[in-house]
């Protein structure tokens, strides 16, 4: 299972790609595999304020629904609207075309609290 080195991760199985003051967020390969076929993504609203560790989106498989937590605080800058019609992209390409939303960070220091790839891998392997 793949956990790209350049990404940050959360214990809730999200990945975060930091680009200056903006962060792109999705779910990890481990998460999509555990969920199974993803059939619906409830996206946040662009412009909404989100707080770190608060729920801001949902991912549903045929089996269950899972909350997506904002890894960092900020304002939703963009959402991946292609997931409205083709949510299965999250299964196929979780770190690329299957991204879920972008956040403009209000506190860049929060990024320091995220896991790096090796710490996340250790977390998953201890599950």
């Amino acid at each position: 299972m793949e956990f790209p080195e350049q990404l940050k991760y959360t214990k809730e199985h999200e990945w975060v790609a930091i680009d200056g003051a903006r962060a792109r967020v999705g779910i990890t390969d481990y998460a999509q595999d555990a969920l199974g076929d993803i059939v619906f993504v409830q996206l946040p609203k662009v412009g909404a304020a989100v707080a770190a560790n608060a729920t801001c989106a949902e991912v549903e498989s045929t089996k269950s629904v899972s909350d997506i937590y904002a890894p960092v605080s900020g304002t939703i800058a963009a959402v991946n609207e292609t997931l409205n019609d083709t949510p299965e992209i999250v299964n196929r390409d979780p770190y690329g075309a299957g991204w879920i939303f972008d956040v403009d960070l209000t506190d860049a220091a929060e990024v320091d609290g995220l896991l790096d790839a090796s710490a996340y891998r250790a977390l998953v392997e201890s599950d």
Binding site: G36, D37, V39, N84, P87
Partner: protein
């Protein structure tokens, strides 16, 4: 793997959606050995089943199968939904849901003119379902049994049965395979080009076909009439368990009825989601999921009687409102 009715069962082998589509387009195999098999045999077997179940076994003949209900004698709730295989004159196999087998055996016990034997552990049941199920099965077993018929057959040197029954809304058969031939038969089915499917696809397939699941659309507090399955009850066949209580409900009129809900988009109603019409709460979802064929949310829900097809409803999905309309299942019909 998950625990289901005392059995360890796989949710999926590859992907729920892929297995679902394979069943609609080709054929899949489910290991449904968890279903119960009660062998009812003896002079009084037919009378026993007639007095226990709602449907009229007299309307079929040896070599045929029938869907039926066992009711609670006091309030007529559906204790279980059951398939009866009429093998020969006084020889039947009664197939309850996994968790209900001992309850049904108890309900049938005490009649001295026939025996009721739980043979569940002596056989496997492999359900092969899909438009190409029979064709693809040809190298494994002769599968020309008609829909809702059952016939003796052999698996290798072992004697078993094959029935034209299933739970997916597709054509297909169910194989009753003696335990000693089960693994070999399963491998032969897979080798014939039929992919295995798990409990996840079994649930999305039955829901898309509008078929009830015990514990959701049938069970304590739910009668056959509320579930919209009045055709399973034969009032003219004589007395049966729960008849008086069910007749009383029929005469006073049901206060709710199971309906299909088709969501306008992909939002997925789940069990327990509240359903409203014009802002007034009228019922709740009993089962809901995505329809893999329609790519829309679908649900079964109990609504007040008299709501017409096409009525728009709102479903509260964890605080968000999804718009749906009342439809007559099945949700998916082959074009």
């Amino acid at each position: 793997m998950v625990e289901f009715g005392g059995w360890e069962m796989p949710i999926q082998y590859s992907s729920v959606l892929e297995e679902h589509r394979a069943c609609r387009e080709h054929a899949v195999a489910f290991d449904v050995s968890h279903l119960g098999s009660l062998h009812v045999q003896g002079d009084g077997a037919l009378d026993l089943l007639q007095s226990a179940f709602t449907n009229d076994v007299g309307r079929i003949a040896p070599g045929q199968a029938q869907y039926t209900h066992l009711l609670d004698p006091a309030d007529a709730h559906v204790v279980d939904d059951i398939i009866v295989w009429w093998l020969a004159d006084d020889d039947f196999i009664v197939m309850p849901n996994a968790s209900n087998t001992s309850r049904i055996a108890d309900a049938l016990a005490g009649d001295h003119s026939c025996t009721v034997e739980d043979i569940t552990m002596s056989r496997a049941i492999i359900a092969v379902q899909g438009p190409e199920a029979r064709k693809t099965l040809a190298p494994v077993v002769t599968s020309d049994v008609e829909r809702f018929h059952v016939a003796p057959t052999t698996y290798g040197s072992a004697d078993g049965f094959i029935a034209g029954t299933g739970y997916t809304g597709e054509d297909g058969v169910e194989l009753h395979v003696p335990r000693e031939a089960a693994a070999e038969t399963w491998r032969a089915v897979v080798a014939a080009g039929i992919q295995p499917a798990g409990l996840g696809a079994r649930d999305t397939l039955r829901l898309e076909a509008g078929l009830p699941l015990h514990g959701h659309e049938l069970g304590p507090g739910i009668t056959t009439l509320q579930a919209g399955l009045g055709w399973v009850v034969r009032w003219d066949k004589g007395d049966f368990r729960g008849r008086d209580a069910l007749l009383a409900e029929k005469e006073r009129g049901v206060d709710r009825k199971l309906r299909g809900l088709l969501v306008a988009g992909r939002q997925i109603p789940r069990e327990g989601c509240r359903v409203s019409i014009d802002g007034k709460e009228v019922g709740a979802v009993t089962s809901g999921n995505i329809s893999p064929m329609l790519q829309q949310g679908i649900a079964l829900a109990f609504l007040p009687p008299g709501v017409s097809d096409g009525t728009q409803v709102e479903i509260d999905i964890r605080g968000r409102t999804a718009t749906a309309k009342v439809v007559k299942p099945p949700f998916f019909k082959r074009a």
